[in-house]
Structures are given as structure tokens and as C-alpha cells.
Symmetry: C2
Subunit: 404 residues, 2 copies
């Protein structure tokens, strides 16, 4: 095959995490010929994600634009989950049961009040709960919890189930999975035109979508200034489990009725219950490069904070602990859209919000791939916002960039 001939596919997606798989599914649904390349789909950041769908709670740390994008994506989730389940018959563990943010001591309560102010400045009005009301809402909370904020619209999903369903749905819609690492993006006549795979073979496509999470930054073959500035931010989570006997005795599966996010003596922790009885506790945030070791300190810190908020977790079975690498960006916002290199679409840098942002990312990227018209929602997330390439997003994709 020659990269100069007719491309083998319309879209070649580098990366089979929740973002790449969702784009592949949506693009294939629109009749595009899709290839997704990943040696281990769903085994990166997705595998270590808790699956919180909490744009409001996330807004405490982020910008208005990320919040708005998250809200938009959350609104798409019921349809996304229903469509996915209808296509595959597989569950994705979607729950629409809200988030309770709680504060443990007086300082934590002050931090929570600041969160509330910020959230209200975004036009979101959360229900403020007294200590008593927190315990009424979640009887397993420690009596010391000082107060909380209830975001009733938040949801959660099981990222491992989601990835499994997305892969099956994408393949069902005609996408092809190549279980190989991409070793290089290939450019022809100043345009991204294909990819070289680990076995040395080449694949050509009209569009290359780079959705390789933190590894997008180091993707070989891109002209200078094109690779997105993502870095690995390590996160460790643990998965606990209520036993059938506990559930039979009246405890909710996973001990809680909804996601609980807490500030415990200044340290953030979240607990996400699932219908299966699983309770995911996360997450550390560590800047250690591409290190995925689960550490004694990570587990200890998570158990310490989770136990402070919900003492009953000590009785739960320890299922496992994993570490993943989230794709962090300089401003914590994702990078979605075009670059100076024609033929390339970026969909990476989703940091802690990849699962939440999968529907909006997939819909808008698949829409662009069908129509050629960039989505207005991308504006705040353009690759060019980081300086050197800051004009890139404004240019037309057909303009040429220096290509290796």
C-alpha cells in the first residue's frame, strides 16, 4: 500500500481509551470507515477512573468553560448510555443519583463555602445541607461531618463497563480495532495522512484523530509545535466491595446512595458507589512522570480519608488498587480540535474528566469528521491557546504546516 493512494479509511484513531472508543463509535455510526489503534484498549486512564459525572463539583477547581462543557456532556449522558446499551445489550452502570460534597472540620467547611460561592457565580444553585441533613441523606457518614452541598443532577458510570460497551458498539457499527501501538504519525504533502504500527505496517486515512491520552505529547512523526502539551498525572484508586450479606442487612450497595466527595483536613477524597456493591475510593494526584506503581502511601492516604468520612468502609472487602495516568494540561482543560497540521484532530488532555467529557467530545469530533465544520464548543479548548501555536485553531485545516 502507498500512502499516496486512496486512504484505506476515513478516520484513524490513535488511542482506545474512553475518548478514542467513543469517537470511533459515533463516527462509525455516521457511516465513516473507522480504525482504532490501541494495544490494550480501555487499560489506560480509563481503567483507573472512578466514573464520576460531576461537572458541578469539578467546577470548584476549574474554569467556567470546562464547567460548561461538563454540563453539556452530562446532559448528553442519558441518551449516550441508552444508545450504547441498546446497541450492545451491555450495561454501563449509569446512575443519576447526585453528588454530596461534604466538609469534615471547620476549615473544610470554609473551603466548601468557597466552592459554593464559585459554583453560584457559574449560575448553579446547589442545595446546602446541615450536618444533620447530610447524615439523613447518607446515614453511613461520620457524625463529625459538618455540612454539605447536594448536586442532585450529577451521575456516575462504571468506566470499565463503559469501555467494554464502547468497544463492542464501535465494532458493531463497523469500526475496526487494531491491537497495536502506533509508532509514528505519517505525513504526506504537508498533511497527516496515516500511521505506522508497531509491526511496521502502515495505515492511511483521511483524518488522524490523536486520542492517546498523556502519550499524545510524545507521538513521533508530528511537526514541531503540533503535539499537544499533555503530561501524565498519576492517580491511584482503590475498589472496595460490600458483601451480599451486608446488602441483605439493609446497607446500600457500596455503603452509599450517591457519590460523596469530601474535604478532609484539606485533603480531597471521593467515594463512588455502584449497584454491584463496589465502592471506588479515589484519587491521588501525583506528578511523577509515567509511573504506574500502586504505592503503600497512596492506598494509606485514600483509606485514611475515606475512613474518616465513612468509618464503615473498614468492614468492606478490598477488591483491588490500580494507578492510571491522566492526561493533564497546563490549564487543566482538554485539547479538542484542529492544529496547524491539516488532517490531524486532537482529542486529549481530558485530565480527570475523560469519562464525563466522552459524549460531548465524541459527538463534536464525529460531527466534524462528517461535515468538515469545527464545532463552536471547541473554541475554548483549541490546541493553539498555549502560545507558540496560538493561531493554529483559527486557521483552516487545509493550510499546510511543516511536516516531517
Amino acid at each position: 500500500m502507498s500512502v499516496d493512494s486512496q486512504p484505506e479509511s476515513d478516520v484513524f484513531i490513535i488511542g482506545g481509551g474512553v475518548i478514542g472508543l467513543a469517537i470511533g463509535w459515533r463516527a462509525a455510526q455516521q457511516g465513516l470507515r473507522v480504525v482504532i489503534a490501541d494495544p490494550e484498549p480501555g487499560q489506560g486512564a480509563t481503567h483507573a477512573a472512578a466514573g464520576m459525572l460531576t461537572p458541578i463539583a469539578e467546577a470548584a477547581y476549574a474554569e467556567r468553560e470546562i464547567f460548561a462543557l461538563g454540563q453539556d456532556s452530562l446532559r448528553r449522558y442519558p441518551g449516550f448510555a441508552t444508545d450504547l446499551q441498546a446497541s450492545t445489550g451491555l450495561p454501563v452502570g449509569f446512575r443519576h443519583s447526585g453528588t454530596l460534597q461534604v466538609a469534615y472540620d471547620t476549615d473544610d467547611l470554609a473551603a466548601l463555602a468557597e466552592t459554593r460561592q464559585l459554583q453560584e457565580s457559574f449560575g448553579v444553585h446547589l442545595q446546602q445541607l446541615s450536618a444533620r441533613e447530610c447524615r439523613d441523606a447518607e446515614p453511613m457518614l461520620d457524625p463529625s461531618v459538618r455540612g454539605g452541598l447536594l448536586a442532585a443532577d450529577d451521575g456516575s458510570v462504571d468506566p470499565r463497563m463503559l469501555a467494554t460497551a464502547l468497544l463492542q458498539a464501535a465494532e458493531g457499527a463497523g469500526a475496526r480495532l487494531v491491537r497495536q501501538r502506533v509508532t509514528e504519525v505519517v505525513c504526506t504533502a504537508g498533511r497527516a495522512s496515516g500511521a505506522r504500527l508497531a509491526d511496521g505496517s502502515m495505515a492511511s486515512a483521511r483524518w488522524i484523530v490523536l486520542a492517546a491520552g498523556w502519550q499524545s505529547a510524545g507521538m513521533p512523526g508530528l511537526p514541531p509545535g503540533i503535539a499537544p502539551p499533555v503530561r501524565p498525572v498519576k492517580g491511584q484508586i482503590i475498589r472496595l466491595r460490600t458483601t451480599p450479606a451486608m446488602t441483605a442487612s439493609g446497607l446500600p450497595p457500596g455503603l452509599l446512595r450517591r457519590t460523596v466527595r469530601g474535604i478532609v483536613r484539606g485533603s480531597g477524597v471521593y467515594l463512588v458507589p455502584r449497584d454491584s456493591g463496589e465502592l471506588v475510593v479515589g484519587a491521588t494526584q501525583e506528578e511523577l512522570g509515567p509511573d504506574t506503581a500502586v504505592t503503600a502511601g497512596g492506598i494509606w492516604e485514600l483509606l485514611r480519608d475515606a475512613r474518616t468520612l465513612v468509618p464503615g468502609i473498614t468492614e468492606l472487602e478490598f477488591a483491588d488498587a490500580v494507578a492510571g495516568l491522566r492526561p493533564g494540561t497546563p490549564d487543566n482543560a482538554p485539547i479538542i480540535g484542529l492544529t496547524e497540521l491539516p488532517g490531524l484532530v486532537l482529542a486529549t488532555g481530558h485530565f480527570r474528566a475523560g469519562v464525563l467529557l466522552a459524549p460531548v467530545t465524541a459527538d463534536t469530533v464525529a460531527g466534524f469528521l462528517s461535515t468538515g465544520v469545527p464545532d463552536p464548543l471547541w473554541r475554548a479548548f483549541a490546541a493553539g491557546r498555549y502560545g507558540a501555536g496560538s493561531q493554529a485553531a483559527a486557521r483552516q485545516p487545509e493550510e499546510e504546516a511543516a511536516c516531517r
Copy 2:
């Protein structure tokens, strides 16, 4: 086959933990025809054991007789390990690097002083270390450690390696492993004469050795009063690991030079380093029946106490966590020897000391099986010491008991 005919083997051992395997090996070495039955050899209490060889440290909680038996077994360990390695070529991780017992606060120091008194009353003189000397001996100890006692003769072994080597050695010496559960001890003419296996088949033997750990108590087929009074005592351990980079930077493999046992605010914890870089942290003690769930609370407690003594453990990789069921007895001492039922030898109830006591148990049981003469060391550990069957040990094995 009929159980009345010539027995198929000399010894049929029920249980392939470290005790059953060691007996099988030693008995086979003496030319006896040995069968060992276990569906999963080495996967019970042995799998969750830390492998401390610390009779002196254990003496803090135990009786003089157990201490003496442990001392005796520890003296046998170098030969046992050497012989095992020579027979199999497999390592067992034997180290002879001592134990440092440390105290964290003033109350813990008082408890350690009591330990010392008890140990000295047994005629053991340990080296008393100041806080400074503790840190000189183990630089990774927290500066708050108040003082310690050094038992230079103690050792450690890797129980998983030990079980693997013992199984290979036993088979190499002619023993046969049957990977099946024993469903019943079979008696003929008032004598234990064989065992029924899970597949319904029967095996006959001159001697039946019951070495099934906590499950020995419920072994079907035994006349009333014969089954040993063992109960499951759950223990959770975690295994951490130093990385090659840490070792390259001068840290000892497993962070420590020797086993450290600590009392931390009244709670006991131990840390056992291995040459491989592994650091085993144990152990909980829980009376929950036959429950082997690893729990969030168990892991949290171990990490909390270990981290208090050795803060550097937070950097270690978390390898795994397991729970095992130790065979506890009413007086925490093992049950070794004969019962009122001729043909039956008990070797169980080793509680926390199965790995330590394997050599002396194996040598004395194999000696008896060859000679028919009970070992004088068994006297304090006779099955009959618990009342109802208290005359049993004094009787000759040929005397008859009521047999089902």
C-alpha cells in the same frame, strides 16, 4: 481396594501446608511410602504467613514450652534450609539477620520492658537498645521510636518459596501428592486406617497424619473427642516492595536489615524484609470464623502502624494483600502427637508459628513414624491436655478407641 488388605502406603498426610509437606518430606527421606493429600498445597495459612523465625519475640505472648519448642526448631533451621536447598536447588529465602523489637511511645516502652522481663525469666538475654541505637541499627526507623530489644539469633524465611521447595523435595524423595480434599478419615477395627477422597476413592495407610490446619477440627470420620480443638484465626498481611532504583540508591532490599516488630500505641505490627526487595507487613488477628476476605480496615491498620514505625514505607510499591486462617488452639500451643484413636497422629494448631515449628514438627513426627517411639518433645503438646481426652497421650497407640 479393600481397607482390610495390606495398606497402600505407610503414611497418609491430610494437609499440604508447610507442616504436612515438611513431615512428608522427612518421612519419605526415611524410606517410608508417603502420600500427601491437599487440593491446593501451600495455599492455606502458609500462603499468608510472613515467615518470621522469632521464638524469642513470640515468647512475649506465649508459654515457656512453646518458646523452648521454637528455640529447638530455630536451631534446626539452618540444616533444614540447607538440606532442602541441596535436595531441590530451590531457594527458601532463609536469612539469619535477627529481630529488632521496638516501642513507639512511653506506654509501648513499658510493654517492651515487660516483654524483656518475661524473656529473661526464660533465660534469654536480649540486647537492650536506646532510641539512638535502634536508629543506628535500622536507619529507616522513625525518630520517635523510644527503644528496642535486639534478638540477634532470629531469622526469617519466605513461606511461599518454602512450600514450593518442600513439595518438590517431598516428591523428589518419593512422596506422592494427591491434589484432592479428604472427605473422611476411615477407621477399621478401631484404628484409623485410611481416608476417603473427594472423588470417592479410598486410600489406606498404616498411619494417618492430620495436618489440615484449622480444618483439622471438622475432619469427618473421627470418633467423638478425637478431633483437635483448633479454630480459624484470620490474619491479613500486605506485601510491599522496594524498587530496583531504591536499592541502587543504597536502601536495603525491603527498607530494613532485619525483621522489625513493633508495639505502636498498644497495637502490634511486624515488618519482614526479604532479599528480593519484598517487605511483608503483618498481621491482623481476627476471630471471624472461616472468613478470608481482605478488608479495607485490615490494610489500613497495617499501613498505619507500619508507617508510624517506618515512614519510608509510603514510597514502596504495593504488591498484594492476602488473608489466611491460622489454626488457633485454646492455649495457643500446637497439638502434636497421638490420640485415643490408634493409627492417627496429629500435627496441627501451630497458630502463628507454623513456619518456625515446621522443622521440629517434621523431624519428630517422621522419627515416630519410623520408630514407633513418641518424641519426648511432644509431651507439652499432647492432644489430651484439653480435658476430655486428657489421658489419650499417655496411652499406647495400639489401644483402641471407639471408632465410627
